[in-house]
Symmetry: C2
Subunit: 411 residues, 2 copies
């Protein structure tokens, strides 16, 4: 292993590819806007597939539109999957997801170029809709066989069905894309931290031990539409007041009783949504995240109590619909050690840590041994055009991924 232990990525090619990839859905602010199934997202995926083919890899697109590139070896029985996602939030940065997919592609290219014969096959994967623009962890849940067809047929998934019309995809194929876990040796995901811990402690590499659980919900408060000039204030049934009070209450209760959890109200829609009418209905999209399921359950119960009391206070009706959830997850200890060893071989500092962001790895961890590798995010900023990681950190992470892969495949 002495020669391959020092195998590293092609820095120039990696940087050039990263710059090209960043151009798909590029925004004036320097970020990318590539929601799943958007034209920019599909273009980025086509480019990824083309680059993989140019490198002599075998490209496959499954029923859930997961894009993968494979490198197989004679006698190898199982496949080690590495990857992330090419979709972004609407105001996304260039690194979130894209960095990990590109690093996976580069790892396969380097292994192929080096002529290594590994004991496991390699697959670089780009999962569909990791950002849950339409359906929570659509691609990895489909891949691992835990995406029910019924979920794709709910009203919540209607915008996705509209988005995929004419793209040659169908719901049955999506739900039927599950693979056999016995085919796989594990899953590794390289990602930016999206938080400030590595950068603040001047650490090169994060080894993710646990991944946050998350629950997304849609809350609808319903009151009564009234003339905003003539209706006495005290008899209004203003759905907007419920939405506002809930937003503040969510933050207050996280602050006082759930310091290890976070939450967010990300959108509201007012009906009828005009200045001179008291709002009849307000739809509130919110989420909360927690380190373990016990805290998740406790927080959810408190949130539901609070919503009920707010509805009573403002004389409103309410309905809460879960729109997505992912269980908190532990990563594989052997893979954690392998990542740490790889960092050490490369002379990089590393620390174990918790991931406050959701990742496809938490879905994959219930299916095959999985681990996530983090690199520092400048300022801890993410889901923002200003999201940035240094070129050196990006190369370090890709080299740790490559060395970890080699350690798991007899390279």
């Amino acid at each position: 292993m002495s020669d391959s232990a020092l195998l590293t990525i092609d820095r120039e090619r990696f940087q050039e590819d990263f710059d090209t990839l960043s151009s798909f859905g590029a925004t004036a602010e320097g970020g990318v806007n590539r929601p799943a199934f958007s034209a920019a997202h599909r273009a980025a995926r086509r480019w990824f597939a083309g680059r993989a083919e140019e490198a002599g890899l075998v490209v496959h697109v499954d029923g859930a539109s997961n894009h993968s590139a494979s490198l197989t070896f004679p006698g190898a029985e199982k496949t080690l999957v590495i990857g992330s996602h090419l979709d972004s939030v609407p105001t996304g940065g260039r690194f979130d997801g894209a960095y990990g997919v590109l690093a996976a592609l580069e790892v396969l290219r380097r292994v192929k170029e080096a002529g290594l014969q590994l004991s496991v096959n390699l697959m670089a994967i780009d999962f569909t809709d990791e950002e849950s623009h339409y359906v929570e962890f659509l691609g990895s849940r489909a891949f691992t066989g835990v995406l029910p067809l019924a979920e794709l047929q709910t009203p919540h998934a209607a915008p996705m069905r509209e988005a995929i019309a004419g793209l040659g995809l169908d719901l049955e194929a999506m739900a039927g894309s599950g693979r056999d876990a016995r085919e796989f040796a594990g899953y590794l995901e390289l990602h930016i931290e999206q938080g400030p811990r590595l950068i603040n402690s001047s650490t090169d590499i994060g080894i993710v031990e646990s991944i946050v659980g998350l629950r997304f919900s849609r809350l609808v408060f319903t009151g009564q539409a009234d003339h905003a000039g003539t209706t006495p204030m005290e008899i209004r049934r203003n759905a907007g007041l419920g939405a506002a009070a809930f937003t503040l209450a969510l933050h207050e209760l996280l602050d006082t009783d759930f310091p290890n959890c976070v939450g967010n109200v990300g959108n509201m829609a007012f009906t009828p949504g005009v200045t001179n009418v008291v709002s009849r209905q307000v739809t509130v999209d919110f989420e909360f995240r927690f380190p373990d399921e016990q805290q998740g359950d406790a927080l959810e119960a408190v949130i539901e109590d609070r919503i009920a009391s707010i509805a009573e206070q403002f004389d409103l009706e309410f309905e809460i619909t879960p729109t997505g959830r992912a269980r908190s997850a532990q990563t594989d200890p052997a893979l954690q050690r392998a990542v740490g060893d790889a960092a050490e071989r490369l002379g990089l500092s590393a620390m174990t840590m918790h991931s406050g962001a959701g990742h496809d790895a938490q879905i994959m961890s219930a299916f095959t041994p999985a681990c996530v590798i983090f690199i520092p995010s400048v300022g801890g900023i993410s889901h923002n055009p200003a999201e940035f990681s240094t070129r050196e950190d990006c190369e370090n992470g890709a080299n740790v991924l490559l060395q970890t892969v080699l350690s798991q495949s007899g390279g």
Copy 2:
């Protein structure tokens, strides 16, 4: 005057016309959706013009798309204008505005059928965009020459410019539609109360002495987009928290310090508006209304102070842009007395009152002597499909309008 003193409207025709008019933009809930310049609104206006022409009235559409029907008399020098508006809020009821336009048409028809020769000409008018869907009191401000071209060219008015594209309207003509006040003898507007005072006191007719002043504004809070999972709660700059806190604060300060005023947050728009991103920006459309300008100024100052302290609390920037305003107004005492006398002649009870809703009459009152006549609203409900006034009350109001018109025109 003994014969015309008892002249009343054609009840059957009035009811049939009201039912027909209610069909334009009719909603499943029993209301109407006729925002200014919508297809339903334009269809209702065409129908109105057609009915006026059938009655032998002279129809005119001015540069601001105000639709009017006129009845002129030899030797008459001035014109008494009566009317209201055919546009509605998106979840509007059938009566708000439409009732007053139809009553004005019926008054002109009855005068013409009765062969009366009056000393002033009559004009039944349907003002454009009274509900300020695009521009505050567009039609009456254009008619009275106080709608600056510059206002139509602001970003705030951009949606209107889009809505009128292809309709043969242009901004210069809109702003240039002002009439000479010396041509006019006065303005009378018949309207539903949109509040509970008449119905609760079993009074037939409201004589409006004063009309509320109102100020509409758009408030934009700007923070920073961040990953909603990984960014520590305490360093987020969440624009949604500012919007929520402002909504509650507006209601609280109205409740404690401004009991004679009302306010409303009618819409919010979140950017980027997705669940897993901390909102970078939230746009809040709000309004407040006040009985006199002194209270309006005082309330506005307190609101601006509160917004500044909320922005500081949540580390946000903010910008407040006025999007519409109308001064509070007093109606004409002589017209008030004329309405009261007309009600008395018809054996109806009447009371003087304040209008908490804005009306074109408050724009017209700065231009020509004006008054508003109210009829009871069942439950005080308005801007809602359940908005309702009884057939008897509608007929009473139209007869009071007719008798008041005759009293002002030697009929």
